[in-house]
């Protein structure tokens, strides 16, 4: 990580920590304030609901009184006292009475507890009223309307129910009625913005998030408070159990206060923190950038320069030499060092060049010396043969002519090779399959390898059929391969294994030629591609130079892997197009 | 007679209950079906077997049909109680559908169950005339007086009027009756509250009163009364009225208040008003075969176009309301209304008719006018 980045990171962390801390403190305070306000509002609504309950109970009691005093009920209880009473006459009485008084439930029950008429379940006439379910002789007296469960055919309802008794002689008629407690009842309440009230009864098909809270309250029979997340956001829900006269929880009142305001405020606080943090970070970036630039730029320049030098680009401009302080001193030292290195490299190059020319001259002298020696001997022989008889002189003269001709041809060959190396032809590129070139080159050595008088050399060709054609000069490439194959064979005088392999390379092809000869030392490896450098007794030493030149013309690269005693492997990579380089 | 109409609410429930009751308590098997039914049962149960005989609707222990039981016993079956481990249980039920009267018996022997039936189709109507025969009640006022009238009898231009204290002879003089003679009726014991009396005029004049029978020659020269209880001339054999009662008794001891004979189409002997006010049809053996309603009195009149009709009097629960006279035609033990009911201006205190007669006598007490009026009741056929 660069210094600049480190500085930037440090500044960012500091700014962030500060912003987070401040934001948390503010948010916590806001949350507390909202909780307090929410509790106050919930308590107020609960009180309002209780007052509304009390009003409902009073109304129900009054309406039941009216029903009990009505002509219909009075007539009913009187008729029931007769021996000729016909209950069927009254089975439809409760419905109109309930409708007239706005009650949801109304049962007329005789003194044996049998339902005479029911507004909510007309078909239940004749059955025992639930208030007599335990076999009691009389219904519990409920002058005030109490919360009770009412079993209906399709649901279990909850409502305020009161009872009135109407007496005529020895006969009694019980008037049991009330109103349903449901969400409609609660709809009449006036609630602050963001608050809602729901009534949860057993069996309600509510599947929303409040159900577990309601269930818990039913079990514990105690108030509870919880924050519940839903589709519209989080709500703060207070659950109050509503119990019947026997203590059983019949319904749960859920007062929900939307946390939207709090959420909005928290969101604003959060966003403010984020913005502040971003601004701080940005500011920190700027500051750190300015600070760092004064410090890190010279160092980076130095680093770049070092990298260039490492890559061999010695002509790098001395960086930041005019910088002050340690950085400037470092830059100036670096500049001096690169200058010295460049000078030394030039001297080295010159020396190598001189050494190469010396080597070339030595090799050339050596090559030329061989054919020149017999030429000198032959001239000496001719001089001496002048003293011989004409017939003998002719014989010696013809023999000498042949030797001179052969020697001159050799000289010609050396010169030609030298000339060839100095003036390699321009390659003519065409699409050629590398495998075909390899096969062709191998074929040329078939006879040589099959000769019985030499130790066997096993040829293993591993040619990848998926290798695609490349743009190459088939002749030159073939000559290069021939040289490599020849070197490999020459490296295994005792026999061995010659392996030639082709593979797809990125953007081209790779050709490996490996032998199991004696291998090369480090010095030999270093000078392998120097013209006229050879480890063989014969040869011009130009083969690998030519190979290198061909590879270079094809924009490829060649390198060797070898260790003494382990054989040698030449690797050639050639691009598909001669206009691209193999990297 | 036209009266102020009054809507009398009906109680179908009670009617259905009665009908249901009448249906539930299916009467004993009709005599003509018992034999056939017994034969079919005997074909399934071997002689000597122990047989339990029950009724289809017998939950409260109604008596089984004795006739059927006796026939089965006579053929060798032993009739036992249902809980006495019988070899077979026979459940009998009788009724009638639109085509026939029927008795059905369910015979269970172990797991086997067979059902047999005996039916008696109704006779096919012989007349091809339209079946709409309607009669109308014609009530002709005969006589009125303030004192109670028990019965009146017309003989030519003479009218005999029986009241609790005397038998009086009137002779027609134009549109009125002129009193001719009156003979006191002496009775030792006080008359009953619900006083009833009947006149029979044939070769002489017979007056039947509770515990007293008076006789006079046709010339009405004298009247002799004796404290003796004689059978009254009713459609049903009786021992007369006891001194302090208003009901008659059959030889079997069953009380009845009124009786009227029926013709063959009724497939019953006569109709009586029993001790609870129900009008029952009884067979020759004086066994009830059907209940057709309720009434105070009944009398049978032969209509001008033929056929015997049952006239019944009665009224609603309110004593102040008027009575009505209704006409039924009894066919195959079922009663069909045969005319429009006729209201009367008061309560009918007596309704008498001789057997086969074409007229009946009705006495009506108009409490508002404080008088009794006797009418001659006829049935006119309008179609």
């Amino acid at each position: 990580m660069t210094l600049r980045l480190r500085l930037f990171a440090l500044v960012a962390v500091l700014v962030t920590l500060t912003v987070v801390l401040v934001t948390s403190v503010v948010a916590s305070s806001a949350r507390q304030a909202f909780a307090t306000l929410d509790a106050q509002r919930t308590a107020a609504i609960a009180a309002q609901i209780r007052r509304e309950f009390a009003v409902q109970q009073d109304q129900i009691a009054q309406r039941l009184e009216r029903i009990a005093a009505s002509d219909t009920v009075q007539r009913t209880v009187t008729e029931l006292g007769r021996s000729t009473a016909d209950p069927a006459r009254h089975v439809g009485d409760a419905g109109p009475l309930a409708a007239a008084q706005g009650l949801d439930f109304l049962d007329l029950v005789d003194d044996r507890g049998k339902i005479l008429s029911s507004a909510q379940t007309p078909a239940r006439f004749g059955y025992r009223h639930p208030a007599w379910a335990d076999g009691g002789a009389a219904a519990p007296a409920t002058p005030a309307a109490l919360l009770q469960r009412i079993d209906l055919p399709s649901e279990h309802a909850v409502g305020f129910i009161a009872t009135r008794t109407v007496t005529a002689g020895d006969h009694r008629l019980y008037v049991i009625g009330g109103r349903r407690l449901d969400d409609q009842f609660l709809a009449a309440l006036v609630l602050p913005e963001g608050m809602r009230v729901r009534l949860y009864r057993d069996g309600d098909p509510a599947t929303d998030a409040m159900r577990p809270l309601a269930a818990r309250v039913r079990q514990t029979r105690q108030d509870a408070h919880e924050r519940i997340g839903g589709g519209d956001g989080v709500e703060s829900v207070a659950a109050i159990p509503l119990s019947g006269h026997d203590g059983e929880v019949l319904a749960v009142l859920l007062i929900a206060s939307s946390d939207r305001e709090l959420s909005d405020l928290m969101s604003r606080i959060r966003w403010t923190g984020v913005l502040a943090g971003a601004l701080g970070i940005a500011l920190g970036c700027g500051v750190s950038y300015l600070v760092a630039s004064r410090v890190t730029r010279p160092i980076e320049s130095l680093v770049d320069a070092v990298r260039d030098v490492a890559d061999g680009r010695w002509n790098v401009d001395p960086p930041a030499t005019d910088a002050s302080g340690e950085v400037g001193a470092l830059a100036r030292s670096f500049a001096r060092m690169t200058a010295q290195l460049s000078e030394q490299r030039d001297r080295l190059v010159q020396a190598e060049r001189v050494a190469a020319w010396r080597e070339l001259a030595r090799r050339l002298a050596h090559e030329l010396k061989n054919p020149l020696f017999p030429l000198r001997i032959t001239i000496d022989n001719l001089r001496r043969a002048k003293a011989l008889a004409p017939g003998e002189f002719d014989e010696v003269f013809d023999e000498s002519l042949g030797t001179l001709t052969t020697g001159l041809a050799s000289l010609n060959t050396v010169v030609a090779r030298f000339s060839d190396f100095a003036r390699m032809p321009v390659p003519e590129f065409a699409e050629v399959p590398p495998n075909d070139i390899v096969r062709h080159a191998l074929k040329l050595f078939d006879a040589q390898l099959a000769a019985a008088d030499r130790p066997p050399i096993r040829v293993a060709s591993d040619l990848d059929a998926s290798v695609e054609p490349i743009e190459a000069d088939a002749d030159q490439l073939g000559r290069a391969l021939l040289n490599l194959l020849l070197n490999a064979i020459d490296a295994m005088p005792q026999g061995g294994e010659l392996t030639i392999r082709t593979r797809r390379a990125k953007g081209g092809v790779r050709i490996d030629v490996a032998d199991t000869g004696e291998g090369l030392t480090g010095e030999e490896r270093a000078r392998l591609f120097t013209p006229y450098y050879t480890t063989k007794q014969h040869g011009t030493g130009l083969g690998l130079a030519i190979v290198q030149s061909v590879v270079a013309d094809h924009r490829g690269r060649i390198w060797v892997e070898s260790e003494p005693g382990r054989g040698t492997t030449f690797h050639i990579e050639l691009p598909q197009s001669h206009e691209t380089h193999m990297s | 007679m036209r009266l102020q109409t009054k809507r009398i609410p009906t109680s179908f429930f009670v009617g259905v209950a009665l009908a249901a009751t009448a249906g539930a308590q299916t009467p004993p098997a009709p005599a003509d079906l018992v034999g056939d039914l017994a034969a079919r049962i005997l074909a399934l149960v071997p002689p000597g077997a122990r047989l339990a005989l029950t009724r289809a609707d017998d939950d409260a222990g109604e008596p089984i049909d004795r006739d059927l039981a006796s026939r089965l016993a006579a053929r060798g079956l032993r009739i036992v109680a249902a809980d006495a481990n019988p070899a077979a249980t026979v459940t009998v039920g009788c009724g009638a559908n639109l085509r026939e009267r029927a008795c059905v018996a369910d015979v269970r022997r172990g797991d086997a169950r067979d059902t047999v039936s005996a039916v008696a189709p109704y006779a096919r109507p012989t007349s091809s005339a339209p079946d709409a025969r309607v009669v109308a009640i014609e009530a002709t006022p005969l006589f009125r007086q303030r004192d109670a009238i028990l019965d009146v009898a017309v003989l030519g231009d003479r009218l005999f009027v029986l009241d609790p204290s005397a038998l009086t002879l009137y002779r027609r003089a134009g549109d009125e009756w002129q009193r001719v003679d009156s003979r006191a009726i002496a009775a030792r014991a006080p008359w009953p509250r619900d006083m009833r009396g009947r006149l029979r005029v044939a070769n002489g004049i017979d007056a039947f009163l509770p515990g007293v029978t008076c006789r006079a020659p046709i010339e009405f020269t004298s009247l002799s009364c004796a404290d003796q209880r004689e059978p009254w001339p009713l459609a049903v054999e009786n021992a007369g009225l006891a001194g302090v009662r208003n009901a008659f008794q059959t030889p079997e001891g069953a009380p009845f208040f009124s009786a009227a004979s029926l013709d063959a189409a009724a497939e019953a002997h006569s109709a009586i008003v029993d001790g609870t006010g129900r009008v029952q049809l009884i067979d020759d053996a004086r066994k009830p075969v059907a209940t057709i309603g309720e009434a105070d009195d009944v009398a049978s009149i032969t209509a001008a176009c033929g056929g015997v009709y049952l006239v019944a009097s009665g009224g609603p629960t309110d004593d102040k309301a008027a009575d009505t006279l209704r006409v039924w035609r009894i066919v195959r033990q079922r009663a069909a209304a045969a005319g429009t009911p006729m209201p009367v201006a008061g309560t009918v205190t007596a309704l008498w008719a001789a057997e086969g007669a074409r007229v009946a006598t009705a006495v009506v007490h108009d409490s508002a006018a404080d008088r009794y009026e006797a009418f001659q009741i006829r049935l006119a056929c309008d179609r």
């Binding site: - | 009670v14 309720e294 195959r332 309560t347």
Partner: protein, 477 residues
């Protein structure tokens, strides 16, 4: 002298009516205004509307316009009508019906034997008809000893077809016109059974129950349909209500998926939970009768206990069933208010013994129910014919699920009819509940010269109806 305090009652076998009394003779003239819920768009004995209520109303009206050869007497027995007598030979495969002479059709022409034969041939319930002088011969391949009873059915009324859309009859009234919601009948002056008292009958159709009651109470209608729950209201207001014998039955019919042996106990317990007495006597205000058999005794001739059985009602009986069998869905006809009342009570009764019951009264598609409350029509005829019609009404599927037995032929003995009815009810696939009568409210001034305006078997006896003076003055429609 009144000896007892009792309620003056009508005869058990005849419909009840208040003793509204007019001692005067019946008066001619006037238009009788009748209202009904049903909708009848054509009067043709050979056509049957799909809706049962409409079909029953059509038959009632057609009985005023067309005559059958024979007629079932509500008191029992078969009466002559267009045929004065009849006899059969060859075991009942060939019948000869002697036609009443001097019968005039509504268009004034005389009814001829060939017309009667053609009318019966048009119905063609498996017979061939021919004439022999003034007699109509009916021959069938199989013996039909009960053919005279069959011919009493309104389907076999003699309707003489004048054109593809015009039929005439011989009844006391002729059809003047049929409108979308009204039928006008006019008195047939030359009716063989004598001209009716009324000049015309106007039948308003498609009237809702509440509207009919209002019209009756405000004197805008003379005779209206009444439901059992409303009959008491009319009688309390002093209006008359005519009740026929129970002619409509309600029965539970279980669906095929509840016909398997595994559901035997479920059906039995569900049937056992019924409180028929409460339905008949309280819910339907005593205007119905509990039914344990399909046929009432006045149709069958034997007590209902022979054919059906009253299962014992046991508290919490359903607790002995597997939980998945305790839930039952009951479907009732949403257009039948009486069925809804009964269905609600059945549900309450079943819940009391432990079932969980949902009542469906859908107007459209709904999930398949477990059991249906169906309405069946009882004819006034012999038991075998009534059973055959009843089985046809229930459908072949219900029959095949209830029993493998086939309905007995018309001439089968009574015991065979009993055995078949018993077999139908044995497995509790079909459970009779109650029977309800037809109820009619009568306005003041409507009198019947003979019998009641509607007889015990539901036949409209309007030929014998006369209007009191006040109603008569309303005149022609």
């Amino acid at each position: 002298m009144r000896r007892f305090r009792f309620v003056w009652l009508a005869i058990a076998s005849a419909p009840l009516a208040a003793a509204a009394v007019h001692g005067a003779r019946a008066q001619y003239g006037g238009t009788l205004r009748v209202e009904t819920r049903a909708n009848v768009h054509a009067l043709d004995p050979t056509a049957t509307p799909l809706d049962r209520v409409d079909a029953a109303a059509a038959r009632r009206i057609e009985s005023l316009v067309f005559d059958t050869l024979t007629h079932v007497d509500p008191a029992g027995g078969l009466r002559p009508r267009l045929a004065t007598s009849w006899e059969s030979d060859r075991g009942g495969a060939r019948w000869r019906f002697h036609l009443r002479p001097g019968v005039a059709l509504h268009d004034g022409t005389a009814l001829e034997a060939w017309q009667v034969a053609a009318a019966l041939r048009a119905v063609s319930a498996g017979w061939s008809t021919s004439i022999d002088g003034d007699a109509v011969l009916i021959e069938s391949q199989r013996p039909r000893p009960e053919l005279p009873w069959e011919l009493a059915d309104a389907r076999f009324a003699v309707a003489v077809r004048r054109s593809s859309s015009s039929v005439v009859g011989t009844g006391p009234f002729r059809l003047e016109r049929i409108e979308a919601s009204r039928i006008i009948l006019r008195a047939h002056d030359a009716c063989w059974s004598a001209r009716p008292f009324l000049d015309a009958i106007e039948i308003m159709m498609g009237r809702a129950g509440a509207a009919q009651l209002t019209d009756l109470e405000s004197n805008r209608a003379d005779i209206v349909d009444v439901s059992p729950a409303d009959a008491r209201r009319l009688t309390d207001h002093g209006l008359r209500v005519i009740t026929t014998r129970p002619l409509q039955g309600y029965a539970l019919v279980f669906e095929p998926h509840k016909a398997d042996a595994a559901s035997d106990r479920l059906r039995e317990m569900f049937a056992g939970s019924l409180d028929r007495s409460a339905i008949a006597n309280v819910l339907l205000q005593g205007r119905a009768e509990p039914a344990v058999a399909l046929l009432p005794s006045w149709v069958s001739g034997y007590p209902e206990a022979f054919a059906g059985r009253t299962l014992t009602r046991t508290a919490k009986a359903a607790d002995r069933l597997p939980p998945e069998q305790r839930t039952v869905s009951l479907r009732v006809d949403s257009a039948d208010p009486v069925a809804r009342l009964i269905g609600d009570r059945i549900a309450v009764d079943a819940r009391e013994v432990g079932f969980t019951v949902t009542v469906q009264a859908p107007a459209g598609l709904a999930p398949r129910p477990d059991v249906r409350l169906v309405r069946i029509t009882l004819d006034a005829n012999i038991p075998t014919l009534v059973l055959a019609r009843l089985v046809a009404e229930l459908g072949p599927r219900a029959l095949s699920l209830a029993t493998a037995e086939q309905p007995p032929p018309a001439d089968a003995p009574l015991a065979a009819a009993l055995a078949f009815e018993r077999a139908l009810l044995q497995g509790s696939m079909i459970v009779p509940v109650v029977r309800v009568p037809d109820l009619y409210g009568l306005a003041d001034g409507v009198e019947a010269f003979s019998g009641e305006p509607v007889d015990a078997t539901g036949t409209w006896n309007f030929a014998n109806v006369s209007l009191h003076a006040a109603a008569r003055s309303r005149g022609r429609p």
